[in-house]
């Protein structure tokens, strides 16, 4: 929290003193990929969850169908989830590679494998463009949907790699000289997970409990700032570009609902785990980006909690990415 506020103050001071880039590391700008251009982005994140290192890797293909319409498809791989929901789902907490229940019993042996989570699709349509010399204001609408089947055990929906569902929203981006600012507001409507919850390690899978987990609907609100630090003066494409970013990512979501079916019938489960209860938070993500030969983007950011915290990851959350365009 303290580091988050400190970095927010430092970067905001820098921005307002000088004035950017909208090639944001985490949030999408309202601008599009050029028509008939393919963008390829490999990115991932990692964080330490007590004794376990959680990793996610993604490959994104982006294409400019028209100057105003960009489509994207992203496949993700991670060790964030088990193959089924954890034991004591309604009152569980995470402890490294283990899941702890309300009884205080630490269930050993839960090792999360690397799994292919599924595909995330995204489309963005730019409907306002007000261009000036070294500046522009743009607005776009986006829609997204994900085809995932992973045993995500927190209520916070995340369409990229955690929950199946749909989402939509609005992006506005203003860019002037070296400074860029962008706001994204949107909704996420996750679909429920139908699967099984682990009942007992020593019993066979036939004893696992059939579980419907309805994740909470969410609204997200992201604010990104970008600043072109280098070069001070453009001469040619060979100059290394250095961009600084500060991205705020906020989300507010509802509590989960759990319904389980066993030999006794179907029951709505009372939830006590904070991982499954309504919450709102804002993360702050300072980041740095290098653009090599005006072609290859290499970026890195660190996520820290600013207001409350997210329960789908620990902090600091390190994100890295490499991106390149291919022109057809």
């Amino acid at each position: 929290m303290r580091w988050g506020l400190l970095s927010l103050c430092c970067v905001l001071c820098l921005f307002f003193r000088a004035g950017g880039q909208e090639l944001f590391i985490l949030n999408e700008p309202a601008s599009n990929i050029p028509k008939h251009t393919l963008g390829v982005r490999a990115f991932g994140n990692t964080y330490r969850e007590l004794n376990a290192q959680r990793n996610m890797g993604a490959l994104r293909l982006m294409y400019g169908l028209t100057p105003k319409l960009t489509v994207m498809a992203t496949g993700t791989l991670s060790n964030h989830h088990d193959t089924i929901l954890p034991r004591f789902l309604a009152d569980h907490t995470h402890s490294g590679s283990q899941t702890a229940g309300a009884t205080g019993t630490v269930v050993k042996g839960l090792k999360y494998p690397y799994l292919f989570n599924g595909i995330h699709l995204y489309a963005k349509y730019r409907f306002i463009s007000k261009d000036g010399r070294n500046e522009h204001f743009r607005a776009a609408v986006y829609a997204e949907g994900s085809f995932l089947k992973v045993a995500h055990d927190e209520t916070e929906p995340n369409l990229l790699d955690d929950t199946r569902g749909v989402g939509a929203g609005l992006i506005t981006t203003y860019l002037k000289d070296r400074f860029a600012v962008s706001f994204t507001g949107g909704v996420i409507i996750p679909f429920e997970y139908n699967g099984y919850m682990l009942n007992n390690y020593y019993l066979g899978p036939e004893y696992n409990v059939q579980t419907e987990l309805k994740y909470g609907n969410a609204i997200q609100y992201n604010l990104s700032f970008g600043y072109l630090l280098l070069p001070r003066h453009y001469k040619d494409y060979k100059q290394l570009n250095l961009n600084l970013y500060l991205e705020l990512q906020g989300k507010s979501y509802a509590s989960a609902k759990i319904r389980q079916t066993d030999v006794h019938g179907t029951t709505d489960i009372q939830i006590s785990s904070p991982l499954l209860l309504a919450n709102h938070y804002v993360d702050i993500n300072p980041g740095i980006q290098f653009i090599v030969r005006s072609d290859l983007r290499i970026d890195f950011s660190v996520g820290l909690p600013l207001i409350n915290r997210s329960y789908v990851h620990y902090y600091p959350l390190y994100t890295f990415g490499v991106q390149k365009y291919f022109y057809f």
């Binding site: 010399r133 522009h136 570009n241 005006s294």
Partner: protein, 159 residues
């Protein structure tokens, strides 16, 4: 024979180069996107971008028909807009006059607010229209853009 060859040579080489100002650009990667889109045009020989001033110079291949409108479209396809577009045309003693339709290299041209004169040699022309100008400039010229050409697309230019 030489006369016949000359007669059948396509008269497409009259455009020498164009200069284009681009709005909305602030990064070198964006500038490169614009350059690569323009370079895809069959009649373009070379492009030199000025990143600092967000301007570009476009050089044309000899013997190829230059379609100025496609340069503006390439900028738009890259996600940006044209601030201004000027092109140098090699005239061979053609007479232009205000609002008169003139055919050059197979395209219709209307010279807006230009006095009657004969043009010879390399003459820069500024293209007018929503596609070639930023909005506030276009609004100043909009009322003058009336074509007297019969059929087809008309380029509005001023000297």
């Amino acid at each position: 024979m030489v006369a016949l060859c000359f007669f059948f040579t396509p008269l497409h080489a009259q455009y020498k180069e164009a200069e284009i100002g681009i709005n909305g650009l602030t990064c070198s990667q964006c500038s490169r996107s614009v350059e690569l889109r323009i370079r895809k045009l069959a009649f373009v020989k070379d492009v030199q971008m000025n990143l600092e001033h967000t301007e570009g110079r476009v050089f044309f291949k000899e013997g190829e028909k230059v379609e100025i409108g496609k340069i503006a479209s390439a900028v738009k396809d890259a996600g940006f807009s044209v601030r201004y577009l000027k092109a140098v045309y090699h005239f061979g003693n053609e007479t232009v006059s205000k609002d008169k339709c003139l055919d050059l290299s197979g395209d219709h041209y209307t010279f807006v607010r230009s006095k009657e004169q004969s043009l010879t040699g390399d003459v820069p022309m500024t293209f007018l229209g929503e596609k070639f100008q930023e909005k506030k400039e276009f609004r100043k010229w909009q009322s003058y853009l009336k074509s007297n050409c019969a059929g087809g697309y008309t380029y509005f230019v001023t000297l």
